[in-house]
């Protein structure tokens, strides 16, 4: 027990007050979705998700969700196939580049998405001409948005593993570089790679600014469209998305703890 901790009473007061501030809007949203105009309560709106009569209203959401999931997969691919190998390379062969690399990787935190989108607009005009205006092209921008989060997760794993010794041992036993990276280093970094992938999925599913201003249909922009016809559907999807992200973050937390245990 930490001697600096406040008394049980102080702790409970803080917990209850702050907990209420965070719980009330969520509970209110849940009530909002089940309360009918005549004052009764029913799950009709939740059942409406599977009602063929609602299909036309819901269509933008399913399209947007499909696009967002595709974007999540491509963004994770960028993280695993471009960022992670480069981080391994920098840590093994160019340790002097690490500060510069870290600066570049963390830079997107300091650049608001709304500022980035002003510069992305002309680039996406060109992309639209060459690669088409499909939603999947947004993944290039999203790869930058998730960069700081993914970098931190993977770097924590890299710091916990003696990559140099592992690589040298594998090399001296005759392994080529592809084998070293795929069969020796990647399994040792799996916690960081998993956390980086999951947080990328969470960020991509929640992204609105870039997609909205570049006129691409994703999950979040679809909810704004649907809200204009039916205010209750976005509330239902918000609760579902929150639950999904909460579970995702619990998994990440477990993965991070695994890394910490491996270190100690």
């Amino acid at each position: 027990m930490n001697p600096l901790a406040p008394s049980r009473v102080t702790r409970s007061v803080i917990g209850v007050l702050v907990g209420a501030f965070f719980a009330i809007p969520l509970l209110a949203t849940l009530l909002y979705t089940v309360r009918m105009p005549d004052g009764t309560y029913s799950l009709a709106r939740w059942a409406g998700l599977f009602d063929p009569g609602m299909a036309a209203t819901l269509k933008p959401i399913w399209t947007g969700l499909g696009n967002s999931l595709l974007l999540a997969i491509i963004t994770v691919a960028i993280v695993l196939l471009i960022l992670a190998p480069t981080m391994i390379l920098v840590n093994l062969r160019f340790p002097k580049l690490r500060p510069a690399f870290e600066f570049a990787a963390l830079l997107p935190i300091s650049i608001p998405a709304i500022v980035l989108v002003v510069g992305l607009a002309p680039i996406y005009l060109q992309i639209g001409r060459t690669l088409g205006t499909g939603a999947w092209t947004l993944a290039f921008a999203y790869g930058i948005t998730v960069l700081p989060f993914a970098y931190r997760s993977i770097q924590a794993s890299i710091d916990a593993v003696d990559m140099r010794t592992l690589a040298e041992a594998a090399r001296s036993l005759g392994a080529g570089w592809p084998t070293v990276v795929l069969k020796v280093l990647a399994p040792n970094l799996r916690q960081g790679l998993l956390a980086a992938s999951l947080i990328s999925v969470a960020v991509v599913l929640g992204e609105f600014t870039i997609a909205s201003l570049l006129n691409r249909q994703v999950f979040q922009t679809a909810m704004v469209v649907v809200q204009k016809q039916d205010g209750y559907l976005p509330a239902i999807f918000t609760l579902l998305a929150l639950l999904f992200c909460f579970v995702l973050l619990l998994v990440i937390g477990r993965a991070a703890r695994g890394t910490r245990k491996a270190r100690s």
Binding site: T29, T33, R93, S110, V115, T209, L213, Q227
Partner: protein, 310 residues
């Protein structure tokens, strides 16, 4: 002049000295392949981070026909634009302060929880989710809670006869941003400030007690002075976070440009705002100057604060 000739002399000397040149060539041949591995990532970052940033900052200096102009940047001095920046800074400052204070209190209460326990783990995960929650979904939650048909709003009106919108429906105006912003500022504070608070050593408290100090003298003389750099750094991060936030405001205020990001939206989606083209670039420049200064201060203070967390 002298340095150049010196360098040249060194180069000539090394080229002439036998043995050194071949060895250098052999050593250089391996890294030359490894360098290639950096190319994809470097190209990607240049194309989608460096170029957009330069474009967005630079575009404010050019008119639509490509000629250089000061008029867009001069628009940053327009009373309307200045007012928007003041609104943004005001909301960010207020929510950063409230978020930092409440978040610090939550961290303080969390000291009493077992770091490996279920409650602590759940609070950590919840803070992680809610800190990322500042999007359109947060706007929906507040519309469902205190919107015109909102559950809490209707409940207050029917049970107590309190009309929270007696002075106008402020939820869709500037004041409406305050509650939603605090909703994501507090969890962010918990995430960023908790490591600093957890790094306070119990031994310091024991030393304080052994030397005749009290609980309050511990916080006044040791705890708060040690934590204040971390607190200030977190406060700056929260400010930048609110200042950059766009989605919640965009979903709540579907028209109007009360804060800078919304004014950028207006400048991007309509051809001319305030009778100027490329105003979005000038506004983006203004934003990045503010956020850049705040984040530079943040990393400066954070580096100083990290001293106590070793």
């Amino acid at each position: 002049m002298t340095t150049i000739t010196q360098e040249r002399a060194d180069a000539v000397a090394s080229a002439l000295s036998p043995g050194s040149a071949p060895r250098a060539r052999v050593r250089r041949s391996t890294p030359s392949w490894a360098w290639l591995g950096l190319v994809p990532f470097a190209a990607y970052v240049v194309l989608f981070l460096a170029v957009p940033t330069i474009l967005s900052i630079g575009s404010g200096f050019f008119a639509k026909d490509g000629s250089f102009t000061w008029t867009n940047v001069a628009a940053l001095g327009d009373p309307l634009v200045l007012n928007t920046f003041a609104n943004s800074a005001g909301v960010s400052l207020l929510t950063a302060f409230v978020g930092a204070l409440v978040g610090a209190l939550v961290c303080y209460a969390m000291l009493g929880l077992n770091p490996e326990g279920v409650v602590r783990r759940t609070v950590d995960a919840a803070a992680g989710v809610l800190a990322q929650f500042g999007g359109v979904m947060l706007a929906f939650v507040f519309i469902a809670t205190i919107g015109i048909q909102g559950v809490v709003k209707v409940f207050l009106q029917e049970s107590f006869g309190i009309d929270i919108f007696a002075n106008g429906t402020w939820l869709y105006e500037l004041p409406g941003l305050i509650l939603p912003y605090i909703y994501f500022q507090v969890p962010l504070m918990v995430i960023t400030f908790m490591p600093a608070l957890a790094a306070l050593k119990p031994q310091w408290s024991e030393a304080n007690l052994a030397l005749g100090g009290t609980r309050s003298s511990f916080w006044l003389r040791i705890g708060i002075p040690v934590l204040s750099p971390s607190f200030l750094a977190s406060l700056l991060l929260l400010f930048a976070n609110a200042f950059s936030s766009y989605a919640t405001a965009a979903a709540l205020a579907s028209q109007g440009s009360q804060i800078v990001p919304l004014q950028i939206r207006a400048a991007l989606t309509s051809e001319t705002v305030l009778g100027r083209e490329n105003l979005a670039g000038a506004l983006a420049l203004g934003m990045i100057v503010v956020v850049g200064i705040v984040m530079a201060l943040y990393s400066l203070i954070q580096r100083r604060a990290a001293r106590w967390q070793a």
